[in-house]
Symmetry: C2
Subunit: 423 residues, 2 copies
């Protein structure tokens, strides 16, 4: 008996838990809404998904999602029972096929009227997936090697304004940041190949600066050029970056899709920076979608070397504990020790979150990105960058920021500006 594909869900239902769990298993394997002649006992034994475990949780009066239908036999108002449900799907139903895996473990489940909530919490995949999908090509070690940074987080920024800068203006910004010693810069996800900033022109202008700086200082900035586009164009953009001596490409993973990332990874010679914009669709509602620990496994298998995880005290809605859990998920091996992805910490980061980020994760295997936090520093971007590096020095040495700032004026100015903003 081959290992099954295991999926754990949080569900909410006005039906008995056993019934709802069997509905999930049936709908996503050999069942349909009514018995059909071909669903023999032999076929069921082979192909029907199995409910392995049900852990009842609390019951509530108000459904998480609209559209559920309580049992017709019910007399009083329905209660909506929550539970963790583990389902085992026979591997032979699917084979090692990531897109069809997604159609199976998510797919129609969100539509079931028997449920008032369903969120995929985690998955466990058989070894066959690792054989077909080699996972990150560069990962953390490869990224560190290319960026020339060890034993501390890579410090990066996003080109801001997100859109509207010309290639020359972008290159000028990279020069300022590069002269200040930045490790990593990325395009905004809104900026790909546009009339405002055609991709080849931007790569030419930016890489001229990066290569000049590298010749002069020995340090080559890793710039994640946003190649998000149709696949044909993505591959062309990739070749442009490689030819210019670039060391990273970025994709909006939800916009291109799982199958495109797999194909792109096969033909890619650079680390893939996976931007998760659109993640709120999966993550924001507590009873709809996919939790990050499950989701990042799919994208790592498909080939993402870096994956966004948001940041502590971010500008978005996500609570800190969720961000910490996401960082840890990216750093947990699946099939081999180095199939981890580098967590990309960003969103409203200015350095003040460095001590807490370090304390709660215990890792420096991070790409720590500040946009406005660097670019809007009162003494300019170079000072913004130095303030950020100083914040991480303090964090790693266990020195309170305010104390470290007394001897580090850029950090002092950082705290003066952003500390107030965020308190």
């Amino acid at each position: 008996m081959k290992d099954p594909i295991v999926a754990k869900y949080l569900i909410e239902t006005p039906h008995p838990l056993e019934f709802a769990a069997e509905m999930i298993a049936g709908e996503q394997s050999s069942g349909t809404f009514i018995a059909v002649p071909g669903e023999t006992e032999e076929l069921k034994a082979r192909a029907r998904a199995r409910v392995a475990h049900i852990r009842p949780l609390e019951a509530v009066d108000t459904p998480g999602l609209p559209g559920s239908r309580p049992p017709k036999s019910l007399s009083g108002p329905p209660q909506y029972q929550r539970a963790e449900v583990t389902v085992e799907f026979p591997f032979d139903n699917i084979g090692p096929n990531l897109p069809t895996l997604l159609a199976t473990i998510c797919g129609n489940l969100y539509e079931l009227a028997e449920l008032s909530g369903i969120k995929l919490l985690d998955i466990k995949l058989p070894q066959a997936f690792a054989q077909r999908y080699p996972g990150p090509q560069f990962g953390i070690a490869g990224t560190r090697r290319l960026a020339g940074v060890q034993a501390r987080p890579l410090i990066g920024t996003i080109v801001k304004p997100s859109v509207g800068l010309t290639p020359t203006q972008t290159a000028d910004l990279v020069r300022t940041l590069g002269e200040a010693g930045i490790d990593f810069v990325k395009d905004d996800e809104l900026q790909a190949d546009s009339p405002h900033s055609p991709f080849p022109a931007r790569v030419a202008a930016v890489m001229r600066v990066i290569n000049e700086l590298a010749d002069r200082t020995g340090k080559k900035i890793m710039f994640a050029f946003n190649v998000t586009d149709d696949l044909e164009a993505m591959l062309r953009h990739h070749d442009t970056v490689v030819a210019a001596g670039g060391t990273c490409v970025m994709v909006s993973i939800h916009s291109i899709g799982l199958a495109t990332l797999v194909e792109f990874r096969r033909r890619c010679q650079l680390p893939i920076h996976g931007h998760r914009n659109g993640w709120g669709l999966y993550g924001r509602h507590p009873l709809l979608g996919v939790e990050y620990p499950a989701w990042q496994k799919l994208w790592r298998l498909a080939g993402a070397d870096h994956l966004h995880v948001n940041g502590l005290q971010n500008k978005f809605w996500e609570p800190d504990e969720s961000v910490i859990r996401s960082i840890k998920a990216c750093l947990t091996p699946m099939f081999r020790p180095d199939d981890t992805a580098m967590p990309v910490v960003s969103s409203g980061q200015w350095g003040g979150q460095a001590p807490e980020t370090y304390r709660l994760t215990g890792t420096t295997d991070l790409l720590y990105i500040a946009g406005g936090g660097i670019m809007a520093h009162p003494q300019g971007p170079a000072a913004g960058l130095r303030g950020l590096v100083q914040a991480w020095e303090a964090a790693m040495q266990g020195i309170p920021l305010a104390e470290y700032a007394t001897t580090h004026p850029e950090l002092q100015a950082t705290i003066a500006k952003f500390g107030k903003l965020r308190s």
Copy 2:
């Protein structure tokens, strides 16, 4: 001034509407959480998205989504104000790039703490998108031509059980259905290329039957083989279908992604049957995601010839008016009269919904799919199919089903079995 990209949203916010709308426009164009030096007036004029219209709706006490942050200045409990907001994004920020369009009009918006709900309602795209993306290759006319069906819906079914049948068992089923005169059969989305039913073996077995029947009767069943997989494998599967004389391929669009569909469309010689499993993520919550009228435009541009729309009185959560609106959306031209997609009506369909479907849409440009509704008919699948065809005959002639059934025994048996189930 080029035409902008126009996006209309339903939002909910504890902030003043103007503030929340500007936050959306800023976040998805040239702004970030703090003013940065590069966001000059000249750049803003060129690149900043514009709030074109705000239509206030009701206010509520309870937020639609968790994680929103009311203004700090607020003294009492927050009110959550809803509104329709129209935003215009400068075309030159993006260019005709579908994946980056998605990152712009959806992307980080779902994460904004200033919002307690945001759903993309509709989009209007400039002509340049039509130039880069030719849309459906076959559409309704091409599908009808290949299937040899005019002036009535194509009647189809799904291979059931969804998974577990061998290629030979699948082919046997197709023979039964083909001998009864079916127009269209599709793989289930759970069945792609699996150890239980390897793709080449299934195509060989099924097409042998379809080609034999076509030689005998002159009617070639359109079978939508589920090619969902990595792109390389999808193209291989496609070639297998073409070589065997098949006339349709199916993809799980959310599982492969927008960029893969674009690339696949460029290299595809057959109509693409777009299965929307996973749609619940976008559609189920009233204040999160994307409404179908907006969503189907993206997938049509990317190349889907058929798009699933659910069905009336379906087994899922979706209300009928939403299904009707989806059918109409697929049938509304975007850039040219024939860039419509054929709506695929399915889920719990058994024929009883035919009169209402016809009455509310006025169209026969439908692929009407019944799974259990055909396969579980008391007199077998062939009678199930005849009952279904009879239901559509009645619908199109405006004859009540019960009346038509008095002279059509298969429909009578259909109603006896499924009419009770559904009442």
